[in-house]
Symmetry: C2
Subunit: 779 residues, 2 copies
């Protein structure tokens, strides 16, 4: 094992971190990176098909209304308009839970949120399609809108979906141990309410789809921004009443997904239905306002927590009541609900747990999966409560976390099992590098430092998918010329999995990453993969690729042995050479020579590997994250300057340490960390989708929806701690969703340290800070 | 075995011809047929890449000249011009025979034919690129041109290539038996000279290439009209000095190749070199005149034949002297030279053979491979001589062919071996269906009927490629949803191999062709295939696919057996059902259920198969076609009306019968037959590239180069004779190059029957006919 890897935020200082590996651990720039920044590559909207037409969707100006009539006769008369569809053309609902599927390509009978699709037009160009939308006459009967889930729960008289009493989309109760008894016997019990806000992924690339329906063969070829092509594939099959093998999905490069492109977009359905209707390809690319209108981002949560501690400061119990604002439709809300439940079990040891959660419909754009889904909200609460408890016990926030932190081999009451963790090392590292203990509680008024921890799952599927196996398939084709080609349907949404797959294949094959090509993101050409979510890819594709590559080696090693005249068990391969581990200088043979010899005498060499996550006994279905084979961990320390004149919080530095096991590509890991911090900081301080009481969306543009830019970013000191997860194919696990978990609570803890005020609602706007400062001065 | 399949030329009468097969033998329209005719698909020139630029090539107005200087400074100054290259940028020569490689992307030092490329420009649009060409100043020193190979042989003083004395590109002598003795002992010896003309493929789609060189990764992605991507791949690697695994070739749909797109085009090289130079993609699409200038089509041949017969009319010997006009460069001429040698051995038994051939350089666009290459020229001669001999012996042309025809199991003196032939059945069939025996020699003056036979190789490679193995690789991926995907790099140039591959895979897998997808024509994604030439694909891909599909079956059959509770050896699969051959009504299970069960319990299923042609002992390298595993056969009867006023020959009917073994897709076979007849007729009567004595090209447009159109086509009565080749994977073999062989000699024999004049030169223009009629009347 090598030394600890430390990265700075200067890109030229990236170092490799290879332990005993050769390709894994290399800080290789993305294989497609230069092509992306020089404009060589094509995203979905860049594609043009022969005779392609342009689609636009008419969207509702009302948040809750009955559609009394739609008259598109004038639109159809407009020169250049080729077809119009409405809810009548897409009567079949889709959704992740079959019995609760309530989404439609276009509204059927009623609209439930501002911006819901009413009709879609295909025309020869975009301008004509836009004009046609203006010619469609829709008669609405406006209904009262409900936009607060706590209110919605009381309004059984105002059901958003007729079959959902009290507007409850999903609910769940989960009890492990005896939390009631444990709380009553606790030495210290904290009760607190928190609100986690309504934010959007704000990815750069809008959703886009090009549907090419071939009426002669009855097949659909969809090019789309699908983060989870398999889900889109399934749902298109259902809505179009077309067998899955008559649908091919090709995913061009994706400019950011963060979970938001995991659902099938209305662009996918509408373009497909229009294309089938008019017999020509149809492209639909969203405007920014449509991204907000279709949302599927972070659920606002109204959270009530009770947290008990024994007299040493050990957590005795957590009681967590979560009312989630689901917005208008089901989306992937059930997954998020159950994830929030699971997030109280780890990274600390919690012997008694009660969870009660409800996902509630409101007349707002639907909520769904968003980077670190289900974790960000309860982590925001729990990591602040730990600071409060530490203060109660006279301990440092660092001490209370170390005391409660779970160790490798820990099995939570929920049966969630941690094969390996270096969470304590993460805490040590950030405390050491930031000088936390010397600063915390000792900085001048207005300056503060805050600590938080976090964790996330890695390699699992949603429990809904558990019957599907294998979850990932990888095929490695040994090229006749030189190198290998990896076929795997995993979706690179910007996180860099294409490069990571090449590195992992190269590692086991013993060749250079540059000699591995990856063929991803096409349901016809690539092999099956369940999709990009739940930080599963490095772990899942890693196992499938390693499995395939080991099969390749099993074929090549005997040939290499006979060429080198040594015994098979002496053979190793590295850097494009087979060699005898005993006589490397005397006995070696180039990899490409062995391949040539193999192919000449045995024929082509193509091997397939797979991965399905292990199932753990005793896991309650729907009650938690389920069968996550492992977890990533991180700790962060935020340093803030609070401007007491304006209330503006400036984050000056984030010190981060992450346990992602063996980093496959350290440069890529740090990219994930930086992105996570930016997104966590955005939610903590800047971002919020604003909805008027009647459900109108007040800031659906990147002008009015405020994101932190590069100018707002703090200094980041990111460290990858020494770790190797033995359950992971190359010792590596997630690094893209864990690091967002601690950011907001670290900032909130730092603000408390700076001005002595505890905030419980995101985002922490200057207005709130200023009011609090005023209030505390008035006291 | 089923009944004989008969097709008419009315498309709706196509019948299936399935024998004991289910999918093989179905007259399925091309899977991409409707998409092609409705404009859904994209050919190379339809593609547009980001930041793509347009290239144009400056071409020489002289046929033979030294390039004294090229000044492109003015061109570079033109707004929108991004780069210019000349021969200095491409000093490395390429070619199929390494020691004789003399082709360059652009002329180096000297031009050797009209239209040779001098310089290439990349600009932001085509108009600018054209303008830039006009600004390039080239200073030439004009040399004497030689355009007749017989003349060129005498002009050692005028070497076109300095290293080729007497302008000989290649030469070969081949002797089997004792032809001299056999001729001297023959009862009847015919001596005759023939000339086969200079024609172009005249495919609809021009050559086009888009090179996208990524300077960051040092890789080239070429989209091009490559009929033999592997050859282009090899030669690009050489010329660009780039390893093959840094080059990816994607072949979009091809609009006709006929051998002409088998060579790497200068568009491929120039676009690649320009793209590397300017860092942007470059598209070059040829004008029609550039297709003629780069040619690589049928070699004109000056042929001297001696043919001996015994007193029963049996062929005793053939002595064949062939001077081939190679044009300016090597091209694939060596292959054509050796093919012409082989064409005298079959379909008749020829016990003694002497061949002497020379391919000679002239100052004309290079000649190369062209549908039925090497066969059309000697067949034109031999099939007329057989008619002459028949007349001498008082036999019918039918009788003499039957007498001499080889049978299944025949091994020629050249070691060429015929595993199966139904050539006699072809002769019987056309004679019977046309009423030949009742008409021949008995029609009124001006009307005639003529018979000819022919054959062609199937499944072989060029001998130059023999060291490369496997020659074809096919991978079958069983889809999780339903059906299968076949990966195979075979190139569909319009002949329909994509559909045929799907049928063959479906046959062995026991599913419908419509449930098989094919992923072809991409050196990165598809598996290796040597290329589309020598009518190898149905045979070669058939074996590789069958091999892969049988491996799939070996995996699925045991699962099906256990699901049906029967023994493994009872299991069969057909029409998407596994069943017990003993109890079909009771024991059966859907194919997709077996696949699901297999994948659930065993994981993904992907199998790879391969094919390499068998080698035969005693084959002389370079002396003949070599290791062709089998051959296709055909016979044709032409009926003509000769207008004795104008000399115009009108073909009124062609009766054709072909032995292609088991037709995989009878509709596709007939398409090949019609196309072959059109092309054979074109060469016989219409087409000729006209070159002035100084080497200028006189008719480089489809206005001046006359092709037969649909209005010129005769009635065609095509029959596929009952045949099943046991050496072929599904009993089927070539049908695309054999049927062109008999067309021209059948027409010439018919003209002889009509007006009693024997012509020996193609094309048979009205002028020649009229002159001959006048001459015969004057006698």
């Amino acid at each position: 094992m090598g030394k600890m890897y430390e990265v700075s935020n200067k890109y030229h200082e990236y170092k490799d971190y290879t332990r005993e590996f050769t390709e894994v651990g290399r800080s290789i720039p993305r294989l497609d990176g230069a092509a992306k920044v020089t404009g060589k590559v094509q995203y979905t909207d860049d594609l043009v098909l022969p005779r392609m037409t342009y689609g636009k969707i008419l969207r509702s100006p009302h948040a809750h209304a009955v559609i009394k009539s739609i008259d598109y006769s004038e639109a159809l008369k407009l020169d250049g308009v080729l077809g119009v569809i409405t809810g009548e053309d897409c009567p079949i609902a889709y959704g992740i839970v079959p019995h609760n599927a309530n989404e439609h390509a276009l509204a059927v009978g009623k609209v439930r949120n501002w911006g819901e699709g009413i009709a879609a037009v295909a025309a020869v160009d975009e301008v004509t399609a836009e004009k046609a939308l203006e010619l469609i006459k829709v008669e609405y009967e406006i209904l009262e809108a409900v936009t607060d889930p706590r209110e919605a729960l009381k309004r059984d008289d105002l059901r958003i979906h007729e079959n959902c009493p009290n507007n409850i989309a999903h609910e769940g109760v989960q009890v492990y141990g005896d939390p009631e008894k444990a709380l009553s016997e606790s030495d210290f019990v904290l009760e607190q309410e928190y609100y986690s806000s309504y934010v959007n992924h704000a990815f750069v690339e809008p959703q886009s789809a090009i549907a090419d329906f071939d009426n002669n063969t009855g097949t659909l070829h969809l090019y789309a921004t699908c983060q989870v092509p398999h889900y889109t594939h399934q749902q298109l099959s259902k809505v179009l009443e077309l067998p899955m093998n008559k649908i091919r999905i090709t995913v061009p490069l994706i400019g950011g997904g963060f979970g938001g492109k995991g659902v099938a977009s209305q662009a996918d359905f509408c373009s497909a239905i229009l294309s089938r209707k008019i017999g020509r390809p149809v492209k639909i690319t969203y405007e920014r306002s449509e991204i907000f209108a279709t949302n599927n981002a972070r659920h606002p949560c109204y959270m009530k927590f009770k947290m008990g501690f024994d007299k040493e400061g050990r957590i005795t119990a957590v009681d967590f009541n979560n009312i989630m604002d689901g917005g208008a439709y089901a989306g992937w809300g059930i997954v998020v609900l159950f994830y929030t439940a699971s997030m109280v079990h780890i990274p600390y040891m919690v012997p008694n747990v009660r969870f009660e959660g409800k996902r509630v419909y409101t007349n707002k754009p639907t909520c769904g999966a968003h980077r670190g889904l289900g974790g960000v909200q309860p982590r925001f609460a729990m990591e602040q409560m730990l600071d409060e408890a530490a203060a109660h016990f006279g301990m440092s926030p660092y001490e209370i976390r170390k005391l409660n932190a779970a160790e490798s081999g820990y099995t939570a009451k929920s049966m969630m099992y941690i094969p390996h963790t270096e969470y304590k090392k993460c805490l040590d590292k950030v405390v050491e590098r930031s000088g936390y203990l010397e600063k915390h509680g000792k900085l001048p008024y207005g300056k503060g430092i805050g600590l938080s921890g976090g964790y996330y799952i890695s390699g699992t599927s949603y429990t809904l998918y558990l019957s599907y196996k294998p979850h990932t398939v990888a095929t490695i084709k040994i090229d006749e010329e030189n190198g290998a080609t990896v076929f795997c349907g995993a979706t690179d949404i910007g996180q860099g999995v294409d490069t990571v797959m090449a590195q992992m294949a190269a590692e086991t094959l013993g060749i250079k990453t540059e000699d591995v090509k990856v063929v991803p993101r096409d349901t016809q050409i690539s092999t099956f993969d369940l999709g990009t979510f739940a930080s599963r890819l490095t772990f899942a594709t890693g196992w499938a690729i390693r499995n395939a590559a080991e099969k390749v080696n099993a074929e090549l090693f005997p040939v290499a042995a006979s060429m080198m005249k040594c015994r098979g068990e002496e053979v190793a391969v590295k850097d494009g050479m087979f060699y005898s581990i005993y006589e490397k200088s005397k006995k070696s043979v180039p990899w490409s020579d062995v391949v040539t010899m193999y192919i000449e005498s045995n024929g082509p060499l193509t091997c397939t590997g797979q991965f399905t996550p292990p199932r753990r006994k005793g896991i309650q279905q729907g009650g938690n994250i389920g069968h996550s084979p492992t977890f990533g961990f991180s700790a962060q320390i935020a340093e803030v300057d609070v401007d007491t004149e304006t209330g503006k919080v400036k984050v000056t530095k984030i010190t981060e340490a992450g346990d992602c096991g063996q980093p496959i590509n350290p440069m890529s890991v740090e990219g994930q960390v930086h992105g996570s911090i930016q997104m966590g900081m955005g939610q903590a301080l800047y971002e919020e989708m604003k909805i008027a009481p009647d459900g109108r969306f007040l800031n659906p543009s990147l002008h009015d929806y405020k994101l932190p830019t590069s100018m707002d970013m703090p200094e980041i000191d990111a460290t990858i701690v020494e770790s190797f997860d033995p359950s992971a194919p190359y010792g590596g696990k997630e690094s893209g969703e864990g690091p967002i978990q601690p950011t907001a609570p670290a900032i909130f803890n730092a603000v408390y340290d700076a001005i002595g005020v505890r905030f419980t609602e995101m985002p922490l706007t200057p207005e709130k800070v200023l009011n609090a400062i005023k209030a505390s001065k008035e006291k």
